[in-house]
Structures are given as structure tokens and as C-alpha cells.
């Protein structure tokens, strides 16, 4: 009887050790398979401004309120026009800084006279909510110097960016944290 019991016990122990080995195997195999695919540096999410279609979902789909994605101005690409496609809404009767003439719903763009006939447009980051209306206007009627970027002092760096998941043109992807931004006026 006792011999039977011992056999049962040793069989149990064998099954347990075998199970332990089978279970440890993936813990060893998975990192081994991933050795070449592991990066020591971090990654952050960023919008590729050349793929962006200015759909406006950057404002609504970010998990944060206000959104971590905001408009940035590539001054070197700007035409400094009086009739700015990103500042003024379509069909303005007069070109002025009046709120009714502005495209931006939060009034985040400031228009400053530089010299004849150039005006400088700057984005007030604190007011910008990432709706991309100015980006669309600038892209449609101007030089496309206004573009969307995710700001990394606000972005929480989710494992799956909610905006990236729903971006209609798949413009948002992970880039190395050392690069962090994809400016439109990069050479």
C-alpha cells in the first residue's frame, strides 16, 4: 500500500516538475525571440503632418481634456499673408482681428503686423484645443505652414494612442523619444 502511495506521490512530483519546466519555457523563449526586437530607448506618439488630413479627431479622441495635440506654426514655410487661409474664416467681409472673422474657435491665433505687407501669425498654445480647423484652412488656401503635433509635456504616452487608433489616414505612429517631433520644416 505504501509503495503505491509513494509511486502516486512521485508521479505527482514528476507531473509538477514537468509542468514547472513547461511553464518556465515561454518565460525563456519569449525574451529570446524578442532579443532583436527590443529597444532600450523609449518611444513616443507623433503625428506625421504630411499624412494628416485635418479631420478634427485629434481634439475629440485624446484621452486628455484638453487634447495633447496642438497646432504648431512652421514660420519658415509661412507666406506671412494679409489674407491668411488659416487665420481668417472663409467669406470674410473685411480682414481684421475681429472674432467674427477668425477661423479659430478659441481665438488662439494672434495676428501681428511685421512690415508691409507681411503679418506674423503665432499660436497661443494655452488656448489651442487641437481642432485643426486652422491647419485645414492653411493647407487648403495657404502654404500649409500650420500643422498638428502631439506635445510631450501633455501627452501621457498611452500604450495605444486613442487618436492613433481612429486616425483616418494613419498619420500617428510611434517614433523614438530622441526624435520626439516631426516638424514640417525639417530638412
Amino acid at each position: 500500500m505504501k509503495a503505491d502511495k509513494n509511486k502516486y506521490q512521485s508521479r505527482r512530483d514528476f507531473v509538477k516538475s514537468a509542468g514547472k519546466l513547461i511553464v518556465v519555457l515561454p518565460l525563456v523563449v519569449v525574451p529570446a525571440l524578442l532579443i532583436k526586437k527590443t529597444s532600450v530607448k523609449g518611444y513616443v506618439w507623433q503625428i506625421d503632418p504630411f499624412k494628416c488630413t485635418q479631420c478634427g479627431q485629434c481634439k475629440t479622441n485624446c484621452v486628455l481634456t484638453p487634447s495633447a495635440s496642438k497646432c504648431v506654426h512652421a514660420f519658415r514655410m509661412c507666406g506671412y499673408c494679409d489674407l491668411c487661409g488659416g487665420y481668417l474664416r472663409q467669406g470674410v467681409k473685411s480682414i481684421s482681428t475681429a472674432a467674427e472673422n477668425q477661423l479659430c474657435p478659441t481665438g488662439a491665433i494672434t495676428r501681428k503686423f511685421v512690415e508691409e505687407p507681411y503679418f506674423e501669425y503665432t499660436i497661443n498654445e494655452k488656448l489651442c484645443d487641437g481642432c485643426a480647423k486652422c491647419v485645414k484652412g492653411c493647407g487648403d488656401f495657404g502654404n500649409g505652414s500650420l500643422y498638428m503635433q502631439i506635445r510631450h509635456d501633455r501627452c501621457v504616452n498611452c500604450n495605444e494612442c486613442s487618436i492613433a487608433r481612429t486616425c483616418p489616414s494613419n498619420a500617428i505612429s510611434r517614433i523614438p523619444a530622441s526624435i520626439a517631433y516631426l516638424p514640417k520644416d525639417r530638412k
Binding site: V24, L27, V30, S39, Y43, Y118, C158, S169, A180
Partner: protein, 421 residues
């Protein structure tokens, strides 16, 4: 041809400028007043070293929790540990990256080129599993922020019917299988998307997430650790690994005297009572039943594989490219133009329909490859679950079920046995 070559090269060289000038509808200004372009100062992201500091905190927290649960045996200590993890991994790190979600990163990296898994994510996946293999589910006890928030709000535990518990306990397996399937096909990270507590950690979420989280926490006051028991996909892995732990938390600090005082101590029903008094079933009968269920396991695996293989087209709808292709097809068929932003963006992009449909075929193909494995996994888990329900082993002590026990230490105070230190 040779004569024209330099001119051809010249024209080609001119095209270099097209990319930069392509949108220059209005010429760049030439400032006479000497105006200087302002510079954009973009904020830098969090330095990578902080990710490694998080890893160090993880290791430290796991070590301290193990010591608290196994050596010091202090429920109070484990509660304080949970509070710390909630504060650090929950509210400070805003719940991301967590070990629960790291499963998806690993599966994405294994089955896709073009994605490198960050070392921190891989370590967040491996390290809690290593600790589980050695010491049990100490990760759940005092380190996981989701577990911590549920542990700290689970104050009025209520026992639920065994059948309900068994049925709901299968949900994490389904969640894990679907999560791995979706992340391996680069479709979605559903664990992150449907994480109920991350909105509370960030103090910012769409209202649906807040409601889901709040409801789950409220339910958790009575049915403790609802996410851990009935949803957590990582818990499936921890469950499996923890069963092989050599040094696991014990209810008694020394030997069990079968006083039965701890029987109702566990709100998670993780204490397996001893059954030396019960009549032992005939070995023959139990052996026959075991063999019968054992034979059924491959049958379940096959059934699961077939079921999920047939569900592959439906499941592939999780992928946005597949959804786009279907929308385009529907648009063509019905003649009604779609208003979806994805469709508008696709039309602007200039991608041909053939390309789109080829992509769709590829993705559905990947789902067809992957879903039988998910189905087989579900079938095998179901089969093994059935076996474990029918196995009646002889137990002479009250022990925690190493797969289910979260090493929370609630049972410590019920055991009257004290060891002289």
C-alpha cells in the same frame, strides 16, 4: 539618348525641390526690416531613464510584497504596500505602462516586423510572472495598481454562488485570447481601451470609461476584486505560473490543525478546505472519469479552433483597414456616398482599391491563421477547467488555491496558530 542624358539628369535634380516647394502657393517673405523668424520651443518627452526607475520600483515593490506576504505575514503591511503602488503606479504614472497591458506589446512584437518592444514593457511582462512562478501572485497582492484600488475599496465582501463564479471565471481566458489575437494582428489594444480604472488614475476620461470604472468599483465593494477575478487577462498567466510556486503564502504560519476557523476568511473563495473526514471516492471511478475528461480536452480544442476559425471574418472587423475596405465595398454596392472620415481620407490619399482589398485579404488571412490557435487555447482551458472541477484530491490541510489566491493576507488573522519568534 546619350546627348540628352545631362538634360534628363538636370530635370530630375530639379524635382528634388518639389517636396519643399510643393505647397508654396505664396512666396516666402523677404523682410526688409530685418525681422527674425521666431523659434518653436517644443517640450521634450520624459527621459528614458525614468522608465528604468519605474522598473526598479517594480522590482523593489515586488520584493517587499513577497517579504510581507511570506515572511512577515502582515496584512497591514500589504495594505500599506497596496496604497503605495496605487499612489506610484496608479496616480503618479497614471496606470501606464502596466503589466496587464504589456501582454499586448509582447504579442505585437512577436508577430509583427517593424515594431520594437521597449525593454521596460518586456520587463513589466516578465518580472511579475517570474515572481509568480517563485512566490505566487504577489504582484496582485501589493503591486498592481488595478488590484490595489480594488483591494482598498473591497470592504464588504459577499460570497457569490459557486456556479456564477465558475462561469465568470472563464471570461478572462476569452479576454486574453481575443486581446492577443487583436494585438498580434496589429488591430487594437483592447486591454488598454477597456481598462476601467485608468480613467480614475488619470483623473480624466470619456464619461463612458468613468461610469464603467465607478460601477465596477462599486460592485467591488461587495464582490471583491471584480476585475482581477472576472476580467484580468494577465491574471490567467499569473494563475498558471503561481500554481507551480515553490514558496507560496500559507494560511497558517506553521502546521494546519484543521480548526476550520479560516474557512470563511477568503472573500475570493481561494481557500481549499481539507477533506480527510470525507469519504474517499473509489479510485477506479475517479480514474475513469479523469480519463474521460482528459480525452475530451483535444475535442474541446478542436471545437474551439473550428469555432474561432469561422469567426475570423467577424473578428477581423476590429482592424481599421478591414473596416475601411468593407465600407468602400458597401459604398460601391449601395451607391450612397459614405460620410466616414476614414473614407474621405482614403479617397484623398490616392491609394488604389486593389491595394486596399489586397491589404484586407492579408489581414483576414492573418486572422484565419491566428484565431484557430486562440480557439484551441480556449478549448484546452475549458477542458482543463472541467478536469480540475472533477478532481477530488486528498487534502489534510487548509491551503490556498495557488492559482486563485492573490496573497492578500486577509486570512492571516483567522488562523489561531502563533509561532514563537
Amino acid at each position: 539618348m546619350k546627348k540628352a542624358l545631362p538634360y534628363i539628369i538636370f530635370i530630375l535634380l530639379l524635382f528634388w525641390h518639389v517636396a519643399i516647394l510643393s505647397q508654396d502657393r505664396f512666396p516666402r517673405p523677404e523682410f526688409e526690416s530685418g525681422h527674425v523668424y521666431p523659434t518653436n520651443q517644443m517640450p521634450v518627452p520624459r527621459a528614458p531613464v525614468w522608465g528604468y526607475i519605474d522598473l526598479a520600483v517594480l522590482l523593489g515593490a515586488l520584493t517587499v510584497t513577497t517579504w510581507l506576504a511570506l515572511k512577515k505575514r502582515s496584512r497591514q503591511g500589504l495594505v500599506w504596500m497596496s496604497l503605495f503602488s496605487l499612489a506610484y503606479f496608479g496616480f503618479y504614472r497614471e496606470g501606464c505602462i502596466c503589466a496587464v497591458g504589456s501582454v499586448q506589446n509582447v504579442s505585437l512584437a512577436l508577430f509583427n516586423t517593424g515594431y520594437s518592444i521597449p525593454l521596460t514593457a518586456l520587463m513589466f511582462f516578465i518580472i511579475p510572472l517570474l515572481f509568480a512562478l517563485a512566490y505566487g501572485r504577489v504582484f496582485c497582492a501589493g503591486v498592481c495598481p488595478l488590484g490595489a484600488i480594488q483591494e482598498l475599496t473591497g470592504i464588504r465582501p459577499v460570497k457569490i454562488p459557486k456556479l456564477v463564479e465558475i462561469l465568470l471565471a472563464f471570461v478572462p481566458f476569452i479576454y486574453l485570447a481575443i486581446a492577443i489575437l487583436f494585438s498580434s494582428t496589429n488591430s487594437q489594444f483592447i486591454i488598454c481601451r477597456y481598462d476601467p480604472f485608468v480613467g480614475i488614475f488619470r483623473l480624466d476620461a470619456p464619461y463612458t470609461m468613468i461610469i464603467f470604472g465607478a460601477l465596477l468599483l462599486f460592485a467591488g465593494v461587495f464582490v471583491n476584486r471584480p476585475y482581477c477575478r472576472f476580467l484580468c487577462p494577465y491574471g490567467v498567466l499569473l494563475n498558471i505560473f503561481s500554481r507551480f510556486a515553490g514558496k507560496h503564502l500559507t494560511i497558517t504560519p506553521a502546521e494546519c490543525t484543521n480548526c476550520r476557523l479560516c474557512e470563511e476568511a477568503c472573500p475570493y473563495n481561494a481557500i481549499i478546505p481539507s477533506n480527510i473526514e470525507q469519504k474517499q471516492e473509489e479510485q477506479d471511478k475517479s480514474r475513469k472519469r479523469f480519463i474521460l475528461y482528459f480525452v475530451f480536452v483535444p475535442v474541446f480544442a478542436l471545437a474551439g479552433a473550428l469555432l474561432l476559425y469561422n469567426m475570423a471574418p467577424v473578428l477581423s472587423g476590429a482592424n481599421s483597414n478591414v473596416r475601411l475596405a468593407r465600407e468602400i465595398r458597401a459604398e460601391k454596392k449601395s451607391g450612397i456616398e459614405s460620410t466616414l472620415k476614414d473614407v474621405i481620407a482614403y479617397k484623398e490619399s490616392g491609394k488604389t482599391e486593389t491595394e486596399l482589398y489586397n491589404e484586407e485579404e492579408l489581414i483576414i488571412g492573418r486572422f484565419r491563421n491566428g484565431s484557430p490557435w486562440a480557439g484551441a487555447f480556449l478549448g484546452i482551458s475549458f477542458g482543463i477547467g472541467m478536469i480540475s472541477l472533477t478532481i477530488k484530491s486528498r487534502r489534510s490541510e487548509y491551503k490556498p488555491n495557488q492559482g486563485k489566491c492573490y496573497s492578500c493576507g486577509r486570512c492571516f488573522k483567522y488562523c489561531p496558530i502563533k509561532v514563537k519568534s
